[in-house]
Amino acid sequence: MYRYDEFDAAIVYDRVKQFRGQVERRLSGELSEDEFKPLRLMNGLYLQLHAYMLRVAIPYGTLSSKQLRKLAHIARKYDKGYAHFTTRQNVQYNWPALVDVPDILDGLSTVEMHAIQTSGNCIRNVTSDQYAGATAEEIEDPRPWCEIIRQWSTLHPEFSFLPRKFKIAVTASDHDRAAVRVHDIGLRLHKSLTGEVGFEVIVGGGLGRTPIIGPTIREFLPKKHLLSYLEAILRVYNLYGRRDNKYKARIKILVNAEGVDRFREQVEQEWALIKGSDLDLPVCEIDRIRVYFSPPVFERLPHESASLKESIQSDDGFARWVRVNTAAHKQPGYAIVNISLKPIGGVPGDATDAQMEAAADLAERYSFDEIRVTHEQNLCLPHVKKDNLFAVWTTLKQHDLATANIGLVSDIIACPGLDYCTLANTRSIPIAQRISERFADFDVQENLGEIKVKISGCINACGHHHVGHIGILGVDKKGEEFYQVTLGGSAAEDACLGDIVGRGLSSGEVVDAVERLVDFYRGERNDGERFLDAYRRLGPGPFKEALYANA
């Protein structure tokens, strides 16, 4: 993991001090709420329906156990004993008091964390693959590049007042767990025909009101030019992105208006003028950062673990959890463990202080001190010995963290919705809870296989409904909550937007309708065919019929 040196530490410390001054000026009345707003928004502090909400950055979703314990401590001391992990691998506190926020940020800085650029029209926290450094699929670990982008984008003097917020995701695997095609910039590390590793640069993807699967503007960018190329893209966007309408201000609108070819030309032209400059890091700095992400010292182990085999045979619940929640590790004898934050009937992404501490303890003891946050609002222990899986599962179970549903129908992404959010039209959480309860039977869920349900409480699409296999969008109709279903979306390497299939369903109808969809799929699927693949084969017609049958 990256560790701050004195420069990184000083910058975060300076920021906390600056913000403490701003809060003091607000509390003394020297600043009005209007004047304070742009300042607090630069530090991840939103005013929500009931209280301030503080969003803390978890750069590329990587945490040490010490950091996670600090998040737990903050939840206990300053909040209501829980925190919420988001689709951007961040964490949110829903109930902090303004007067406490500088102390919270102080506490975070002691574990090399901050809330810088978690809101505002600037470059936000860079996200990545939660399996980075652990999966055999990747070309190389993408996180050094994420850290390089984090540093370059932090307090960037030119790009802190962009037309709109700006999100960058990086992946290095064919299987895209970072949703790079629905980001302002998606970067995919891959090998050229000559064997050189570089980036595919995707620009102008996004969800929200105008969902777009991002086009590739450059097939191959040599790694050493990453920062100058990003700077060229951001400069073109900063100068020419629309500012007259906040719903048309994201870079995707600019790329669409100019056309991909013209936009690419503008970027390449700008890049040609700046690429020889001081922007690109020297090899020694890239190497310095890369060293922090060296693989941990794995033990040499056989592929299979005898004790794991035995435990699988003796405990069906454990066997299921291993099948569903663990993934292949690049190192023989190790596994990647996913920790579900989607207990049946629970709030997607929420974790209590005790749960965070339990996960931190497990990471310290069994996973080289590392925890990852996933964009699907779960946690992950990236490097666990197969011999230790049973012990890990036993502890997770004690803390209600062993729900075996990763990638299954109850592993739902949901935005906070009208329970918290000022923008929402409808609630999302209760729909997620009811769908999860409907499919509570784990035999049924596992038999159904991968089904990605994503729920947004308004058109801003924080719950990624456009790219759900089953997407659900809440709309307000004359004061009543309705839910519009989209089908066939995907945020993975086969990214595509779901089809809107018809009229909205009432809160009372929507869960039955989802069940009918799933039942229809079960009746029609071929051997081993996922919901998404069946949908692609059969088309929207029959699914639409199932959705509205009896309704």
Partner: protein
């Protein structure tokens, strides 16, 4: 309009008469800048490239912030300084928040049309951060360069 100027890293009040202003439209129409006197007012939707190296005939360029959220002038200032080697004054006009001044200075601004009674307050803002991560139009060394220098010194 009262004005603060950056002199040797400090914002100080200046009482000199502001330069004679020439708008981009008037300049395009053929108006000639007077050496050491004229200021070009460049709207923030005009590409700095449209002026190019001819900007150096002006004693000052005025760049606009219609609201503090509109950050186009940050890019314009850097392009004038870094691409066209502009050495005159770059003056910020419009809505300027305390915590934006350091960003503006990094992008090449060195004059600010604003309330001058709180110059101490604004000067403090220039000291908020002790290091920077990225190169810009100023002389601040990005931390990666400082790291490299330290590594060389340690050898």
């Amino acid at each position: 309009m009262p004005m603060l100027e950056l002199v040797e890293g400090k914002l100080i009040r200046v009482d000199t008469t502001p330069c004679e202003e020439i708008s981009l439209v008037v300049w395009r129409g053929g108006a000639q800048p007077e050496a050491g006197v004229s200021a070009l007012v460049l709207p923030n939707d005009a590409p700095a490239e449209d002026v190019g190296h001819e900007v150096n005939a002006f004693a000052a360029v005025v760049l606009e912030f219609p609201t503090f959220k509109d950050g186009r002038a940050y890019s314009q200032a850097r392009i004038l300084r870094e691409r066209f080697g502009y050495g005159g004054k770059i003056r910020a006009r419009g809505e300027i928040l305390r915590d934006q001044i350091a960003f503006m200075v990094r992008c090449g601004f060195d004059a600010f049309e604003m309330e001058t009674s709180k110059s101490g307050f604004y000067n403090q803002a220039l000291l908020d951060f002790s290091h920077v991560y990225q190169p810009a139009a100023d002389a601040a060394l990005p931390v990666w360069r400082q790291r490299a220098q330290r590594a060389v010194a340690a050898e």
